[in-house]
Symmetry: C2
Subunit: 599 residues, 2 copies
Amino acid sequence: MATVCISGTLADKLHACAEAGFDGVEIFEPDLLAAPESPEEIAALADRLGLSLDLYQPMRDVEGVDEQAFAAVLRRAEAKFQLMNRLGINLVLCCSNVATATIDDDAVSADQLRRLGDLAEGYGIRIAYEALAWGRFVDDYRRAWRIVELADHPAVGVCLDSFHILSRGHDPAGIAGIPGEKIFFVQLADAPRLSMDVLSWSRHHRLFPGEGDFDLADFTARIVDAGYTGPWSLEVFNDTFRQTDARRTARHARRSLRWLEDAVSRVLPASPDGFEMLPDSAAPSGVDFVEVKAEDTSAIEELLGQLGFTSRGRHRTKPVTLWTAGAARVILNEQHARGWEPRLAAIGLEVDDAEAVDLRMGELRVSRAYRRTYATEERLDGAVAPDGTEVYWAQAADEGDPAWVGEFEHGEAVRATPITHVDHVSLTQPWDAVEEATLFYTAGFALRIDSSTDVPGPRGLVASRVLVAPGGGVRLPLNVAPPILAAERAGVALPQHVAFACNDVRAVARAAREHGFAPLAMPGNYYDDIAARFDLTRAEVDELRELHLGYDRDAAGEYLHFYTRTVGEVFFEFVERVDAYAGYGAGTAPVRLTAQGRR
Amino acid sequence: MATVCISGTLADKLHACAEAGFDGVEIFEPDLLAAPESPEEIAALADRLGLSLDLYQPMRDVEGVDEQAFAAVLRRAEAKFQLMNRLGINLVLCCSNVATATIDDDAVSADQLRRLGDLAEGYGIRIAYEALAWGRFVDDYRRAWRIVELADHPAVGVCLDSFHILSRGHDPAGIAGIPGEKIFFVQLADAPRLSMDVLSWSRHHRLFPGEGDFDLADFTARIVDAGYTGPWSLEVFNDTFRQTDARRTARHARRSLRWLEDAVSRVLPASPDGFEMLPDSAAPSGVDFVEVKAEDTSAIEELLGQLGFTSRGRHRTKPVTLWTAGAARVILNEQHARGWEPRLAAIGLEVDDAEAVDLRMGELRVSRAYRRTYATEERLDGAVAPDGTEVYWAQAADEGDPAWVGEFEHGEAVRATPITHVDHVSLTQPWDAVEEATLFYTAGFALRIDSSTDVPGPRGLVASRVLVAPGGGVRLPLNVAPPILAAERAGVALPQHVAFACNDVRAVARAAREHGFAPLAMPGNYYDDIAARFDLTRAEVDELRELHLGYDRDAAGEYLHFYTRTVGEVFFEFVERVDAYAGYGAGTAPVRLTAQGRR
């Protein structure tokens, strides 16, 4: 990993990388300059931590200059080579010239790289030349390789950086033309597709592999094919990761490389040396349960009762109750929740091979969730997601209730209900955890990013990103509260919610009302707008208005839904998808946020 | 002001706009939809608050469609016209078609606008047609005007939005060709020059006039020239203003319009009706004083004493002391500071016409700072900057100390020193106050944005924007701490500092050391890098290293400087500018941030 990826001092960064399981690091020069330790101390620390120092970077503006400027380059380079000897690093990154290039001529650049190579060789050092996406004359890896080929020097090779190549849309097929031994180094970064200048994009918005829009598995596989056998390093300039806890970010980064190792193994006909697949596991097929935790869960019980859930009784060994409606199961947990207002503490996912997910999570080094279980109780494996939510997985039941439901005693007779299952669970993410959460769910559970949107609320924009399991059995909108609310607990700033799918949401709403339920009140102006936008009859609009139902439509179908009030940090939604409606009522969400702001 | 500019519910927004002194608002449709109040209630509230409702917006995708789609447009429009009648609004914004346009033909669009105009006329409503910068076929105001001209309907005119025109680089000269009475509405927004897609730029990064890179004075003057006499409205989509306190943002927005009114008056040969210049006032010529406030200022006194400042004694009526070195004056204030660690509480600026600044600040409706003064004491006028710093202004003294220095008693004899004056004052800004602060200093004191840069620190990037007075007598870097630190007090997250200019910074450092001063320690690696980068002699580098001096060079000169340790929330820097060096040692700042992180 490049030390620029994470926060802290250079020593902090080395500790964090070692603890996360990295084999080595690239030393980013500004990190060294600011460090109080001497180069020898840094080298000794890395050695003790078991980290190799694989690259010193960057050396800028070294070629394409006139002879007078090149003399200054050589003088500066020699000082850096001496420093690298003190650090024990034998590879340096030289970027294509951005600032001082005056000569647009491959032969001149090659000649200067060759002479730099001669100097480097005397210090036992090799040069990895990289085309920056915004290089003055050299901004394409294929041209960088042509120059290195022309230089024809054993100490001069190329560095390939996925960002510089894929951001420009340069075809990675050309990598096949570079002999593996002339690829001296590889830097990996993902990124979201953004239409902005490539320099700002690169400096602020890179992501770890698996979190953006680049096809890094293909990119990496091509380099394997070319015969490269050196380090695979992350170089991710990102405003968030620069400030978050270094140890946590390093673990997150290491996880992304493990994900990439798996993805590359699946692209190539045979796993290359040192690349291992993760244990196979299909995406989860559904939500097994959601758990709400609070010192006192009575207010939630009252709501669920009004909405037609059945109390399935109390757990035989814990202060935990179960409420179900169809295949929707809500656990209410009062254990170890002193002082807590209701919050969404855990979700359970149904998987086809719980053992494989368990092994997979182990390989990804996620933090494990712990549940005390007694003899005769079902074992439950889980992990702690980056936002603190516990995520459990269990073998899907063939039919009917899963076995663990039998651990609950003194329940009522199961009531019939139009409620069928959990449609989606909206998880509020701290702003600095959403990328990590994305990788957690995509790498761990094979969910995919389905859509991203900004929802305007009265206290700012809520950035929402929906993760779904192929097949649609699990849908997790991840919502990030506006920064002004950052000082609040995430669930207070922006409540979490569980949406239950219904066959007939109007019936659910009517029945609940008869049991004393009051939905979140939607304003009259909202219904006037629905009448103007959609060709609904007056009676249809009046019914929506009467039941406080939200309404949306897309090309594939319709969406009807209503919300409960918020209790603590959580609320519920009841939804009916007519035909193949694929969204989440984005048009209604701003109205809902305003209504919730009034409570 | 468009209600979309600020946070809160629609009712909150109306109150905020009225309190800030706006005459009217544009109702942004989503704000109305989410409001619990009926249209009649909103109209009555606006009336009570003295706000006119000048525009309903937006109506989207109304023209360039086939006849079937246009029938639906008319149906939707009629419902909205009925709503507008209930609101008492007689002007609606229609945006050029983005989503549904299939016909790229001015005649078709004109015909459809004409028919929409017929329908609107029946409700007493007029249509302002606007070219969005990302319209499917119509994305240029000149084409929108051609279509309106073709439509030739009394109820159909254009809306001109500075963002949509200036973001695309469209020449505003064409405005002269539009009769003033056909310009139905004008929306104003500034923006920084960003190279990103224009939709994201527009939706997230607009600014209030005077805060970005657009020439809004010129733009507005052209519309005045065209004979427009309608409202001047702000439409500023900005992620920050959407979440900050609505009343504060509205005052800030109103101030930007006052600034623009002044700027337009200066562009036009004669001030148009209703446009008034601000009182003339040149930019400040220097820093009169800086004030550090704390329950106990002893640690600061010790530092200043070591660094060669003279104690000028105690104020005759307050627990306040004065320390000076050349024209640099530091006030230490222990009044009303219980529990405070040292922080930069106030700065005083020397101006050529204190009375004019005072009137100007009144026109800009800034919050006033209050200082109790007694008979025979100098009066001091001041304002509270958005970050809470008190900023005072006083007539520059012709020569020697300003008169207020005479209020301090029992001082020592003035010591000679190479320190000459305050070079710059770095003010840490909360992330949500930096735009408001920029306008405060540019509109209030005629400072200008000189440069912007991101400084990498061990806890994230520090965004820095330097404001300078033409002439360079006042330089204020505004620094924004990385968001991870947002929960901390700004000055704790990122200390503020005062930099003092010296004729001979080496002499200051040596003399201070003899008096027991220890500078902030700079690491050895930093000096190895200086040796590699600059052609300094070994003796010169050794001297820098010995004195812990930072070093930088630009095309115009050199910069030598050292830092004190941080005391509370403040530290000091001593700088020597050789020749015309114009920067602030940006290369050294990351090293300094790391060294400060270690304290």
